[in-house]
């Protein structure tokens, strides 16, 4: 019996967030869900993938049509049914080659909302492990998932799909890394206690920044934030004095007026012997004078600049994605070949059966005619002799077939199998 890989699921493109949430699986209940999934008659193996952007059931099934409807039913048993959501219009279904391709693309982060984001691989591994613990993984899914992990790694190392920061704070850190070669001797000044600045400061800290000054119009909020992110609070009216110590200055206030102007920075620069400064303006309005960027050794990026860089990087990723698709196609091909090789066991059995049937038939015919007079011992010897002959006839071809089947990338294995089936008329046996 031939097993087929089937995927039914929904993702950020096919379904809105409410629908995705209505079918999401909490990790605590994953084990139970997998057991329930296995109870469906057509499902032999199953893995459930559930992240905030997608819910998918990957299964090895004996019959794809039944599997589609059974998985559909399984998914709607989640909250969806109670909420009266008809899932069918939000789900996609894949089987065979298309299912393999889909899973490889998911693993390689080609199907992600932010193409190239690295988390998906870890999530995939987690859900695969859960399925393995629940005992719902067999030969096919084991092989399929492990292959998808290596496809993801290959794509990551051979293409630039994960390169280029796409979030604003990682773009800022990337830029800072173009200017400074180390962060542990740098000082960051955070002007304003906004969420965004907080995030950016933490991001810089995780890259080695140790010294951090925080200032805000209401001093209490500066103190509060400084405590949270281990910085030093500074009174708002004092911050210009401290500017000369800052290598990175992040402005994220809602102030309508410019807080730092070019002449000020020019003075500060002379005081700090022209050591480079990086101004990051992420305030609602411009916190820093645009002319600051014209000064030597000073770089000013405002929120739009950061956004542009992020968008360019995203564009770059989609160019790399084309390369990644090529790799995925290659890998799908080789996996399909492996699946094909699974057919060899039934084929070999059928081949033996066919030969044995012929032997049986011919012996019976002879024993009924010319050889009627043989003694029981002679009959047994005839039996042994013919069996041995067949075993010897078949030994070389079967060994060769098995050898080819054991290799992953043998193009000809499927060809041999097909030829054998045709030559000995094994089809439909």
């Amino acid at each position: 019996m031939r097993k087929e890989i089937v995927i039914v699921g929904l993702n950020h493109r096919s379904a809105p967030i409410e629908v995705r949430e209505s079918v999401a699986f909490e990790s605590a209940y994953l084990h139970d869900a997998l057991t329930r999934l296995r109870n469906y008659s057509s499902i032999d193996e199953g893995v459930i993938l559930s992240t905030c952007n997608r819910v998918e059931v990957v299964a090895a099934a004996s019959d794809s049509t039944t599997a589609y409807s059974e998985i559909g039913r399984f998914l709607s048993e989640q909250k969806a049914q109670r909420h009266g959501i008809a899932l069918t219009e939000h789900t996609y279904q894949y089987r065979g080659v298309e299912a393999i391709r889909h899973l490889f693309r998911v693993a390689a982060s080609l199907d992600s909302m932010v193409v190239g984001e690295p988390q998906i691989l870890g999530q995939l591994k987690q859900h695969y492990d859960a399925a393995q613990q629940a005992g719902s993984v067999g030969t096919i899914l084991h092989r399929l998932f492990h292959r998808s992990f290596s496809v993801a790694k290959r794509v990551r190392s051979e293409t630039g799909i994960g390169s280029g920061a796409v979030s604003l704070s990682s773009v800022a850190v990337d830029l800072a890394k173009r200017i400074f070669d180390r962060f542990d001797d740098k000082t960051v000044m955070l002007i304003g206690a906004g969420k965004m600045g907080d995030l950016m400061a933490r991001h810089l800290q995780s890259h080695g920044v140790r010294s951090l000054m925080v200032t805000n119009r209401t001093f209490e909020r500066a103190v509060e934030l400084a405590e949270r992110i281990h910085g030093n609070p500074i009174r708002f009216e004092d911050f210009p004095q401290y500017l000369k110590m800052a290598d990175l200055v992040i402005g994220c206030t809602g102030a309508p007026e410019v807080l730092v102007n070019a002449a000020q920075v020019d003075r500060v620069l002379r005081e700090r012997k022209h050591k480079a400064m990086f101004f990051i303006d992420i305030g609602d309005r411009r916190n820093f004078d645009g002319k600051i960027n014209d000064l030597d050794n000073v770089y000013l990026y405002n929120i739009d600049d950061l956004r542009n860089v992020a968008e360019e990087n995203l564009q770059g990723r989609s160019n790399e994605a084309a390369k990644a698709e090529g790799i995925v196609s290659e890998e799908v091909q080789s996996f399909v070949r492996w699946i094909g090789s699974l057919e060899q066991v039934p084929t070999i059995t059928a081949l033996r059966q066919r030969f044995d049937d012929i032997r049986r038939g011919e012996i019976d015919k002879s024993l009924g005619g010319v050889l009627k007079t043989l003694s029981p011992e002679q009959r047994a010897a005839l039996e042994d002799m013919t069996t041995a002959m067949i075993n010897k006839f078949l030994h070389a071809p079967i060994t060769e077939l098995k050898r080819r089947g054991d290799r992953d990338n043998d193009d000809e294995a499927a060809l041999y199998l097909a030829a054998l089936k045709k030559l000995f008329d094994l089809e439909g046996k």
Binding site: G164, L175, R178, N297, Y301, E312
Partner: protein
């Protein structure tokens, strides 16, 4: 033997240049391959120079056309030393093709057959030539580093993040390296001038004869001295420092390329 070594060197440098370009422009991964290639080219380069030096003496290594071989050897050597500490694939992308071209030119020019007139041979001459060339090699690298700095600085100022930019070291590293090269290059140049002057004093009779090349080196020396002074005391750094370093090298280079033809002098192998 020696010609074979030079050909091999040139071929390996070409390969190194190609691999530097490949890794700068194409791949996302960092590889040691280009540096290994350059280093193995350097070994053949050393062998070629040694053979020549043993067979024909110092003049065959360091004068006129032959000097190219010696200069490129020094340049590659200094680069290999630097890249042990700094990941500077981009600079390799400048050094390797340059070294290849210099080897090619050395092959094309062949040997000039220049000889040091008897009586002028003394221990000062090789010392002077080696120090002066070494100083030049260091400044050549400083030129390359400054060029990369300015390129990166421009990109950052104009807010153009290209993939190429990511292969560049941070500006801070480049600026520090630039200063380091200046700190090494300037004393070498100073010693080069002093030893040359001593040699001239002994063999020509005057220590300083206002010869075109002497004047050019003098200007370059003052220029580099001023940059070094500015960097150490006045906080000269970054873009201005990089620009000035490039200008300084143009003075040196310009004289070496055209100086001898425009203002023939006793320097550069013509001793009379």
């Amino acid at each position: 033997m020696e010609a074979t070594f030079i050909k091999l060197t040139a071929a390996i440098y070409l390969f190194a240049a190609a691999s530097y370009f490949y890794f700068v422009f194409r791949k996302d991964t960092v590889s040691r391959l280009p540096s290994f290639a350059l280093a193995s080219g350097f070994i053949f380069h050393t062998a070629a120079l040694l053979v020549r030096f043993v067979n024909e003496g110092f003049a065959a290594v360091a004068l006129i056309g032959e000097a190219l071989l010696f200069k490129s050897w020094l340049m590659v050597g200094v680069y290999l030393l630097i890249q042990v500490r700094y990941r500077l694939t981009v600079l390799g992308g400048i050094v390797a093709p340059l070294a290849f071209l210099m080897c090619l030119a050395a092959m094309a020019f062949g040997k000039s057959g220049a000889e040091i007139p008897p009586g002028l041979e003394s221990f000062w001459l090789p010392l002077h030539v080696t120090l002066a060339f070494l100083g030049n090699a260091v400044f050549a690298l400083a030129f390359g580093v400054s060029f990369i700095y300015l390129l990166e600085e421009r990109h950052l100022k104009h807010k153009k993040m290209t993939a190429l930019l990511k292969r560049f070291p941070p500006l801070e590293s480049l600026d520090r390296l630039n200063l380091m090269l200046l700190i090494w290059g300037f004393p070498l140049m100073t010693l080069g001038i002093i030893t040359g002057s001593l040699w001239a004093g002994i063999h020509w009779g005057d220590y300083w004869s206002w010869e075109p090349r002497q004047i050019a080196s003098g200007i370059a020396w003052l220029f580099y001295g001023a940059i070094l002074h500015g960097r150490i005391t006045a906080g000269l750094r970054g873009k201005k420092a990089a620009l000035l370093t490039m200008v300084g090298f143009c003075v040196v280079l310009g004289y070496f390329l055209w100086g001898d033809t425009v203002f023939p002098s006793r320097h550069g192998g013509r001793f009379q």
